[in-house]
Structure formats: structure tokens, C-alpha cells
Symmetry: none
Subunit: 198 residues, 4 copies
Amino acid sequence: MAEIRRGRPRSEQSRRAVLEATRDLLEANGYDKLSIEGIAARAAVGKQTVYRWWASKAAVVADAVLDGFIPMAPLSLADTGDLSADLTAWLDQVAKATRSNAHAGLIRALAAAVSTDEPTGDRLWERFTGPDRQAVIERLQSGVESGQVRADADLAVTADLIAGVTLFSVMARKEPSDDFTSRLVPILLSGIVPRTGA
Amino acid sequence: MAEIRRGRPRSEQSRRAVLEATRDLLEANGYDKLSIEGIAARAAVGKQTVYRWWASKAAVVADAVLDGFIPMAPLSLADTGDLSADLTAWLDQVAKATRSNAHAGLIRALAAAVSTDEPTGDRLWERFTGPDRQAVIERLQSGVESGQVRADADLAVTADLIAGVTLFSVMARKEPSDDFTSRLVPILLSGIVPRTGA
Amino acid sequence: MAEIRRGRPRSEQSRRAVLEATRDLLEANGYDKLSIEGIAARAAVGKQTVYRWWASKAAVVADAVLDGFIPMAPLSLADTGDLSADLTAWLDQVAKATRSNAHAGLIRALAAAVSTDEPTGDRLWERFTGPDRQAVIERLQSGVESGQVRADADLAVTADLIAGVTLFSVMARKEPSDDFTSRLVPILLSGIVPRTGA
Amino acid sequence: MAEIRRGRPRSEQSRRAVLEATRDLLEANGYDKLSIEGIAARAAVGKQTVYRWWASKAAVVADAVLDGFIPMAPLSLADTGDLSADLTAWLDQVAKATRSNAHAGLIRALAAAVSTDEPTGDRLWERFTGPDRQAVIERLQSGVESGQVRADADLAVTADLIAGVTLFSVMARKEPSDDFTSRLVPILLSGIVPRTGA
DNA sequence: TCGTAAGCGAGACGGTACGTCCGGTCTTTTC
DNA sequence: GAAAAGACCGGACGTACCGTCTCGCTTACGA
């Protein structure tokens, strides 16, 4: 069942070195000053070794992110029972994280990467936005069970709204007004709370 | 008031040639295969002439967009009196426009440009997202006057939600489900319609 | 007496494959587009197998020549008793052979190889020029015995003159004048014929 | 009449720097460790500047030789009236020069260059062997006038013999026997001296 | 009307990075 | 222990652009 490979096996050490170099250089200089040549040099690895395993700069960055070399702090979406408070707290966390220069730059870098390299972009995008989106959906689902969200609410669309507005404000480099989150949550929730009227 | 300039005045013909070349090459090969060298060559213009008037590739692209050399079809947000129908129609238009390969590529290109060049990016972003955002806000305001939207509704946040979810789906390269728009509008509206309950 | 070797014996088949690949590629692309990597690939042989047995590109080429994979037609220097006619005939043969594109290229390749790799170059040079040089000396010696060449003639120097002028005209890519050979032989002979004067 | 050149003119300083770097590196490491990359680096010149003006490594070397950056000591062929003595002296000079490691390496380098790059090779070869060959022919011609060489002697073929045997001994890396020159000259001369016999 | 001050196309300059090829070496499994 | 396979580091290849710098040539304005 296992694929039998002949010849010298891939060096795990080189793989790590490349990914670590990518992380360091990305932090230091940003995505578009990142170069394969520079990565190889810092990793003390032949350029060919990079080209052998990754198709593009975006692909290297994607692996660096996906394999956890570039820590994108996982933001926990608590479930205290109070959906509004939980969402507000989480969005404040997100706002804070994305406004930090390091992360905002990285996110824009990933946006550029996504723009440039289709297949890798897709993989990166999915892995990058997927888990958080899933967490949001699950929290909303929990809200359904506790009666804070009505049963037929469109959770997926709501999650996309949240992801979208977050992306938008990062890309726009907007200094968010302090109350942006607190203004946002009610609007989001009003789409999914149990109907109050007749 | 007007700055008096000595010496030979700037050639309008060269300016047009550069912007047209940019448009053609951007359409043909995409943003990151676009090069100043290539633009100058196709415009039959000295490289220095480009560098004299524009600070970066993103700046040239921005001018090409802003001066209408790259036609971003202006999408009209009608005011028929039925806010829900108007928004749905407009979002369908947007969805169609942004899914066309040409426009989606351009949008992602602009996203990359925004990521890369801060001051130009801001100008580009504002001019690019501003008018549509303004149109949405005005239509919502008209809804306030007609009583379809409550007076204290947070129009700006709602407009950002719309812009965000649109950007998000373009970047994600998602083929939108046919009913995405029709699922989206009720959620958006529920945040701003007059309160039905007590 | 014979060296007893342990382990798997050297593969004669690989040796032949390498030498044949060398011959083919040398014919096709010339000496300096020849690469060890290319030889190994065409011979379906590991690179290491080449490196195990040959020290350099020149060494492989040398073996290919010496083992007859690259046919350098052996030119026969007849002994009809007429030294002048024999030498003329032989030099005409040599001229014809060396002027053919295939052989001229090969000879220049060998010259380059000799320049590059000292020990192999020497071996190659000796084996390559030696036999013909020896044949010339023997024919001249036979001339001594028949009285056409005087006893104290300097046969070695004469042979070097012949080899030199041949190499020179190949390297110079000169199209030889038709009568070059017939002009050359009298001069060569005049240095070694029996003295006519007092 | 004069070619009107537009744009920035070629930098003479860069040209000199390249040729000087070539000379230095060639002396230091020999022809096949010479690299365009290395030349450009040492000359503090962009690689493209080298590629813009020279087609190959051989071409750079050729220009370096032809423009006198690589001094090939011009060997003077005196005319004392004694042809035999003059030739012997000159050949001793040549032997000494070509046996010095620096020169022998360079000559073999040029041979390799000639082998590799046809048009440049031809130019190089002609300029390199031409003047000496011409000097020999003129000295022989002078011998004709003084009666030491007979009028119908084949001076061109004799000059080729001399050049050939010189090239041959350099390529063969032969340590020349001390008396090689003194054995060579009589043979060469016997082909062209006035006939002594009937 | 003439000089001085830009702007212009052209194109060479020193550089950086590209993506590829090859040189030698090393490390597997297979024979 | 040799062989095929194939990854490793290193380094040069030749190309594409970067942003800068001269050139000779307009094209304006002000003295």
C-alpha cells in the first residue's frame, strides 16, 4: 500500500529550514521582498531544492502558514451561553489581531498570494478562512440549540458576512472606530434571532 | 493659482499611451506579469517618462482605472421604492460582474496592488470602493425616508457588510450559489428594518 | 596475480552504455555541450556509476576514443618503396579525414579536452597521436634502409613537423589548398634525403 | 556619414574593467574556471553589460587578447643576415615563452576557445597566429634577397610548418629536449636553401 | 531671437532575482 | 559491494526588469 520510493529520501531538515527561513524573511521584509533566492540562501539550501518541492513563492508561504511555522494565533470563540457577548468578544479579538502590523501585513501578503497563484491560493484560502468560519458556524448552531438563534437562520451566509467584513477592513487599512464591533454585532444578530413580532 | 511651469510641458499623448498600454497588458497578462519596462515599450515611450510621472506600477494601474481607461462598468442601484428588490437586483449585477473572469482578475490585481503600495493603494481603494459604497448608503437613506428602513439604522456598517461579502467571494473564487443573493438580502435588511416587536 | 574483488563485479553493460552514449552525444552536440549528467541519462545509468569509473568528462571521452567507440579511421601508411608517393598519399588521406566536419569537430574537442584535464589529456594525446607518429617514423626508417633517406636523418623531428602542421590546419579551420600536400612533401623530404652536394 | 547613436553611449570604463578583470582571472585560475559571472563581479559591472557586448566567454577573452590587455610578448624575429641563427634564436624565444606555465596555459585556453566558438575563434586565431606567421615569412623573404633562400622556395608552407610544430609541442605539453630547436632549424632550412647539387 | 529649462525617446548602466542546468556528493533500495 | 534512483548543496548560466543615468532632440517661456 505504501508508495515505495527509491533513491535518497527527501530531507526533512531541509524542508524545515526552508519553511523557517520563509517565516523569518516574511516577518522581516514582507511578502513582495521575499524571494526564492533569499529563502534558499538563508536556509542554506540549494535553490533547486526549493524549486523541487514548491511551485511558487506563494506555495512556500502557504506551506509555512499551513504547517504552523507562521503562527496565526488561533482565536477562540467561547461559548458562555451569551451569543452576543461571545461574538463581540471574538470580533474584538479578531480586530485586535488583524490590526497589529505584523498580522495585517501577512494577511495582505496572503491576499496577494491568492491573487497570484490559483491552485495554491485556493488551498491557502480554504485552510486559512475555513477553521474560523467553521467555528463561527458552530457557535451559531449552539445558539440555535439554546434558543438565541432561530432554527431556520442562515448560518452560512452570516459567517460569510463576518469573514467578509473582516477581510474588507483589513484590506482597506481602515482604522476601525472603537465601536465598530459593537455596532456590527446587533446587525448580524438581527438577521438570525428569533422573530419577535407577530 | 495655477503653478506656472517652465520648459516643455508634459505630453498628453504620452500619458494616454502609457495608460492605454497598461490597460492592454493588464487585460492580456494580469497584474504581476505587468512591468514598467513592458508598458514603456508598448507605449513607445521612454522608461524615464513613466518614472517621471508615476511612482510605482500600482500608481500607473490606479490612474488607468481612475481615468477610465480600464472600464469598470458602473453598476446602477435603482430606486424603485422596493428596497429589497432594488438591493437584490443590484447584488445580482455585482455578482455577475465580479464573476466574469476579466473583472475578477482585475479585482484580485487591485487587491494585490493595494497590498503592495500603501499610499497609492489607499487612493485606489477609496476611489474604487467609495462610489458604490456611497450609492448603497444613499439608497438606504432613501429607504429611511420611505419608511422601509428605520431612522436609527446603521447604514455605514451595513454598506461595509455588503462590500465585505462581495470582496470575500471574489477573493475566495467561490462560485456563488444561485440563491446566495436572495439569502443575503433578508439578513442584511433584518438589521435595519423598522422594529416589529414591542 | 589477478586482483580478487569482492562484491558485485563491475557491469560491462553499463560501461558500454556510457561509452556509447558519449559517442552519440559527442557526435550530436560537440564536446562542450557534453555533460556527465546527459551521458548518465542517455545511458540509463546512475551518475555515480560514471563518477565511480571516470574522473572527468575528458576521461570518458578518452576511453570512448581509445576503446574504439568513436571510430577514428586508422589511416594506413603504405610502403610501396616510393617514399614521396607514400607520404603524399597518406597526407592526402589525413587531409581528407580531418577536413570532414565530424572529424574536425572531434579533433578540436579533443584539443579542448587536452587543455582542460592534464593527466587524461596526456593519455589521450599520446594514444591519439602516438600510433600515427610511430607509423610515420617506421616508414621513414624503412626509407633509410632503402636508401631514400639518409642514415642520420632526424626522423622524430620530421614526424613532429608532420603532426604539427596537420594539427595546425585543423585548428585553424583552414580549407587547405588542393596542392598543400604536394607542396609540403618536398620540403619535408629535403630535410632527410641523402645529401646531394659535396 | 557617421552613425548617429541615440541613448546613453557605451561606457569605455566598463569595457576596460571587463577586459582587465578577464585578464586577471584568466591568469589566476585558467580558462575553464573563468566565468562571465566572475568577470562581471570583479569588474563591478552588471552581468548584462558583459552579455550586451560579448557573445561568449571566448569573445571576451579574444578581445582581452586583441586589445592588448593580455600581453602576449611580441617576439622579435631579428634580421642579422644569418638566417639560421636568426631562426634558431627566435624559436628558442618561442620555446621559452610557450613553456612558461602562464603562457602555455593561455595558449591551451585559446585553443579551447577556438574549439568552442567558431566566429570568435576564427578572429582570435587569425590575429593571434597571423603576425608571427607574417614575420616569419618576411624574414624568409629577406633571406631570398640575400641569397640564403632560393627564389622559388615555398615560404608559406614553411611558415605553417613552424607554427604547426610550435602549437603541437605546446598542446602535447612536451618538455622540449634542449636541442629540439637546433635539430629543427636545419630540417626547415634544407627545404628552402639554394640547391647545392647539379 | 535667443538662451535656458524642462520633457521626450532611446538605450546603457549596476543590480537583483528569476528558473534551469550541471557538478560532485550522499543516501536509499535492489541486485 | 556495485548499481539505479534520486535528493542534496553549490554555483554558473542567460534573461527579464528594476530604477538610474546620460545622450541628442524637441518645445516651451522669458530676457
